[in-house]
Symmetry: C2
Subunit: 295 residues, 2 copies
């Protein structure tokens, strides 16, 4: 476990250094926008998605340097989604990971625009030629990330999540929300890592299946953490999903059945990695760590 | 003039048909998001940017079919920027082009997400392979549009515009706002049209210069229209820039000098088109029409 923590910390620092290099200079005009972008990107993110991308790339025999530009783009998209989710018109959150949310520091207008600029900057990165990477491959990755982030992915999941709030949701709706709101971007991280690492089509499909199962297991674990976790680990108030009437697995299936499903999905995910052998060890360790936080 | 109006109408209808084809189906989940996206895309836009892209493509000898996917993407980016600009935290506008703004119809949360989804969907289009177009060229166009739309372009201009509101701005600030907030996306339309039409580097540079001059002239004309125009043509209240203390050319330079500069920029823009001969006739007619609305 200490070994995994050291690995995660080592990767996180490397991703942070890269992110500093690709964000616009806060000393340059318009400073307030650049500052607001920096603020949320460096507000304590664990870089789970970039690290999953790196681990997927290494699991198929690639080098982490190959994915770093794409990993930064994905983290910017994740950060923009958090800034917009926290807005008064959305979840109206004053704090995230223990620090004030973007709009509490910079005001709503700048927060909306900082989110817009991060999303757009991600596509600047995704369309910037990278030495040694074929333009057609980069285009495919850009497309799969855009699909995962948009109406057919994360944004679509967020809308259904809002609609479901305060209602009795069925399992199909909870599945839709989790697969889209959080699952799509996690899956895209793994797919991009696999493609950039040089995976053949069969290996790409295996990592896709791993991502679909593990992504859903992550989210069920998150739902359970909201009920059973400790506040420090969660970074938000315990029971806040319940208080808001959010559509969650425990609300639909109960705690025991939710835990059973998370474990089953986790096992199915690990099965997909079997043919990759030792190279997938980091990916196994990270997914176990994320899913088993509540155990 | 009637001939130009017929041309613009003919192109507009063609762009509208294409836009219908690339937006997500409003009958599919999440319906409210898809509906909100459709609503603003079809809320009376004149498709100036797509038509400029078509005209630039034809000015260098290309076919309009080549640009249509990119033109739709650019119009989606333009539409997302209008939805977010109109939000209560930004300009707080209830009407645009005579119809209720997105958040008045769908609520703030859905309006923010519809904007996010349109911006993202634009990059889905820009990264979708197009038969007959080289992946590297598509990547270059995607990059120049992303740069024009983001912190170094439109979003940056919007932030400086907000900061300048109610202050006495200098010419440099007004220039910055106009070149970024509106100029960047107009320039990108022309550049994308030129590249997709097969322009060589010298012709690309000429259209870039045309776009820089014409884009600024368009915006000065818009500032003048806010003071002198009629409400029907403008689609918003006369004098609303002044009432808000917006940084405009007339506020900094006076009406006469602003008109003189618009005319001069227009002449310089037309000079850039001289080597293109008759093929650039549509581009000349459209720019004259936009700039001379107040004459």
């Amino acid at each position: 476990m200490n070994e995994l923590k050291a690995y995660l910390e080592w990767q996180r620092q490397w991703v942070d250094t890269a992110l500093k290099g690709v964000l616009p200079d806060p000393a340059k005009r318009p400073r307030i926008l650049h500052e607001a972008m920096h603020y949320s990107v460096f507000a304590g993110g664990k870089r789970i998605r970039p690290i999953l991308m790196i681990a997927a790339c290494e699991a198929v025999g690639g080098q982490r340097e190959t994915v770093i530009q794409t990993a930064c783009a994905l983290e910017m998209i994740h950060t923009y989604s958090l800034i917009h989710d926290d807005l008064p018109a959305m979840d109206d959150d004053d704090f995230r990971r223990g620090v004030p949310t973007n709009h509490k520091v910079y005001g709503e207008a700048t927060a909306i625009l900082a989110g817009d600029a991060l999303l757009t900057q991600a596509f600047v990165l995704l369309s910037t030629p990278q030495p040694g990477i074929d333009a057609r491959l980069q285009q495919r990755i850009s497309q799969l990330i855009a699909v995962a982030a948009g109406a057919a992915g994360m944004v679509g999941g967020q809308v259904v999540d809002m609609e479901a709030e305060g209602k009795n949701s069925d399992l199909e709706t909870v599945n839709y929300i989790h697969r889209h709101k959080t699952g799509a971007l996690i899956l895209a991280s793994l797919q991009a890592g696999a493609l950039l690492g040089g995976a053949d089509e069969a290996t790409f499909q295996r990592l896709t299946q791993f991502g679909e199962n593990a992504g859903l297991a992550f989210q069920i674990a998150d739902d359970l953490l909201d009920i059973e976790g400790n506040q420090e680990e969660l970074g938000k108030d315990i029971g806040s999903d319940q208080a808001r009437g959010k559509a969650t697995y425990p609300a639909v299936l109960g705690i025991e059945e939710s835990r059973r499903q998370a474990d089953q999905l986790h096992r199915q995910a690990l099965d997909c990695l079997a043919p990759l052998g030792d190279k997938a060890q980091a990916l196994r360790a990270i997914s176990a760590y994320i899913i088993q936080r509540t155990h």
